[in-house]
């Protein structure tokens, strides 16, 4: 290959710099175009559009289609922002290898002709190719890790995640296949007798590729694990949905009686809880010291919490409980009386009931409780009972009526 003369090189430089500047100049509109998938032509002036098309940044894929970013530009952006939806992985190793072979040949030819400036240039190009090759793997591995670590979060549904994972695994297999193409015996042969070539092609490249290889294997392992987890999640979701639907459709469904099978499935063999209880053992002399300390520790806390009133409130609680118990007994007896009234067709006298059942209540308390119970009934239940008071005046001169007895009867609704 003839060396590039300085005129062409400087021309290349100025054109390249100018076109790169175009990217910067229209960065917002171009980025919007990347996101939308097409370019809003109204955002550019006529001449700007022409320049962008000439710079091969924009193109029109079809007459009917709007302008869009060229695939290479999209790819550049995707790689810069690690957009895994759009990032491309280039697994083509054969082409790169071919280029490396050609460069080595050109380099050797130039050296043979003692054309050292050309040889220098060829070596420079060769170095770039070797770095490209390694960088290609690095880019791919970076993309794979990025997807892996985000749990494929760039797609929404589990189904998409599974598809993305499978796609990543295919890419990975292609990358591994590509690595296999690199035959180090060939590279050693290529660099025969030249230190610089050997350093570049053998020690450096081999080092890099072997680390790429182990990275790829690690990614592959993780991808497979993740896919298994995705599938498990998917099957779990389906199981939940479908089982719930089945149970809703069959509300009377009853599974077989597994607990009474001769061989109980372990899932249904769930033992009853045992709550371990323990109390102080007084028979061990050796532990007395500890117990004494424990006991001493106890009331101190209680003293702080309970000031002088301790004994008074204690007695009051006792009395309350006793009264409550008697109250409850009285209530129960009165309830029984009401039940008897319900069972019996005719009216029932409260005092007769008291003597008949030999209850120990004071007759006044008895009557009072029956009235109280009656008053406590809900309104509609009150109507069910007819209450009749047997009253007499307190004396001939006092018209205060005293209740002597009460008779209750069930009232027809």
């Amino acid at each position: 290959m003839a060396p590039l003369d300085t005129g062409v090189a400087s021309n290349l430089f100025s054109v390249g710099a100018e076109r790169l500047a175009l990217l910067g100049k229209h960065h917002k509109a171009l980025m919007q175009g990347y996101l939308d998938g097409f370019i809003d032509e109204a955002a550019f002036s006529e001449s700007a559009l022409k320049k962008l098309i000439a710079a091969r940044i924009l193109w029109r894929p079809d007459e009917q289609q709007p302008l869009a970013l060229r695939p290479l530009v999209s790819e550049l952006i995707a790689s810069m922002v690690a957009d895994e939806n759009r990032r491309q992985i280039n697994a083509d190793v054969a082409e790169k290898l071919e280029q490396i072979r050609n460069r080595v040949q050109a380099y050797r030819d130039a050296q043979y002709k003692s054309d050292y400036s050309v040889a220098e240039l060829q070596l420079q190009r060769l170095t770039e190719h070797v770095h490209d090759l390694s960088g290609q793997f690095e880019e791919a591995i970076d993309s794979l890790w990025h997807r892996l670590n985000s749990d494929f979060g760039f797609v929404a549904s589990l189904d998409d995640k599974i598809r993305e994972n499978e796609r990543a695994q295919k890419q990975l297999r292609r990358l591994l296949d590509g690595l296999v193409l690199l035959d180090f015996n060939e590279l050693i042969e290529l660099s025969e007798g030249n230190n610089q070539l050997r350093k570049l092609l053998v020690s450096q490249l081999q080092n890099q590729l072997s680390s790429h290889h182990s990275s790829l294997l690690e990614v592959q392992k993780r991808l497979v694990e993740l896919l298994a987890r995705f599938r498990q999640q998917q099957s779990r979701s389906m199981l939940i949905t479908n089982m719930a639907a089945f149970l809703r459709q069959h509300p009377k469904y009853q599974p077989a009686d597994y607990p009474n099978r001769s061989d109980v499935p372990v899932l249904f063999n769930q033992a009853a809880a045992i709550q371990p209880q323990a109390a102080i053992a007084l028979d061990k002399a050796s532990e007395r010291q500890i117990l004494a300390e424990l006991v001493r520790a106890l009331p101190r806390a209680a003293v702080i919490n309970l000031p002088d009133q301790q004994s008074a409130s204690f007695a009051a609680v006792m009395e309350d409980e006793e009264i409550a118990a008697r109250q409850q007994a009285l209530k129960t007896d009165v309830e029984n009386f009401y039940l008897r009234v319900i069972d019996k067709a005719g009216p029932l006298s409260a005092l007769d009931y008291l003597t008949e059942h030999q209850l120990s209540w004071d007759s006044e308390i008895w009557l009072y409780q029956i009235i109280a119970e009656y008053q406590a009934l809900p309104v509609d239940e009150k109507h069910m009972f007819a209450i009749k008071r047997d009253e007499v005046p307190a004396s001939a001169v006092n018209s205060l009526l005293l209740i002597r007895d009460i008779s209750l009867s069930l009232q027809a609704a």
Binding site: A156, S157, L158, D159, K161, I162, Q233, Q234, S235, R236, S237, M238, L239, I240, T241, N242, M243, A244, F246, L247, R248, Q254, P255, A256, D257, Y258, P259, N260, V264, P265, V266, L267, F268, N269, Q270, A271, A272, A273, I274, Q275, P276
Partner: protein
């Protein structure tokens, strides 16, 4: 055996031990030696250590199935069957409410407030939650959304499906007992040949 005292107490009390509910204990239980020690200790109590299919949760089973044990298992089973639908519906509801792309698994965190907020604004979710809360498994008497949600989560905590790391903070972590529930469902499905699919059809894959 002394070092496993607290663990034994939890197991005896009927707790399910998983990586979420007690990481240290779970690690111990995965060791064969510990399993043997514990089983040896439990033998006189007619208990043994068991786990679900993929060993993600451990609990105690009866060693010998006498009459009392069978009665206990029967009533336990009746409760389990009765709780299946409410639990499944809860799983679905949480997944849909929080917009998750997969079912809840052990270790997932649920923020109560987020759940309430999202349910509040959505009439159909609100209605489903209302229905779920009044299911006898949860048995809520309240009409207020906040109370219903709190009750549901408290009940699930009592049943060991959720863990509340801080009693004063309203967020919960799903425990490994959910794996147990899924295993129970899968077992019943397989055993009774229920028409309940859990593998995506070819069409879904494509």
């Amino acid at each position: 055996m002394l070092q496993h005292g607290p663990l034994l107490e939890r197991l005896l009390a009927g707790d399910f031990i998983c990586q979420v509910s007690d990481e240290d204990a779970f690690r111990h239980l995965s060791l064969e030696q510990t399993q043997q020690d514990i089983n040896h200790y439990l033998r006189p109590l007619n208990r043994r250590l068991v786990s679900n299919d993929d060993n993600s949760v451990y609990f105690l089973a009866y060693h010998e199935l006498n009459k009392a044990a069978r009665e206990q298992l029967s009533s336990q089973f009746a409760l389990t069957v009765q709780s299946l639908l409410p639990l499944l519906e809860w799983l679905q509801l949480v997944q849909e409410t929080l917009g998750r792309d997969s079912a809840l698994t052990a270790g997932d965190t649920i923020k109560l407030q987020e759940f309430v907020l999202r349910t509040e604004d959505n009439q159909s979710l609100r209605q489903r939650l209302n229905q779920l809360a009044s299911d006898r498994f949860f048995n809520s008497q309240s009409d207020a959304l906040d109370n219903q949600v709190k009750l549901i989560f408290r009940r699930l905590k009592e049943h060991g499906y959720l863990l509340q790391p801080h009693s004063d903070r309203q967020y919960y972590i799903v425990t490994g007992k959910i794996d147990y529930l899924i295993d129970v469902i899968r077992f019943i499905r397989d055993e009774e040949h229920l028409p309940v699919d859990d593998t995506p059809t070819q069409q879904a894959i494509l």
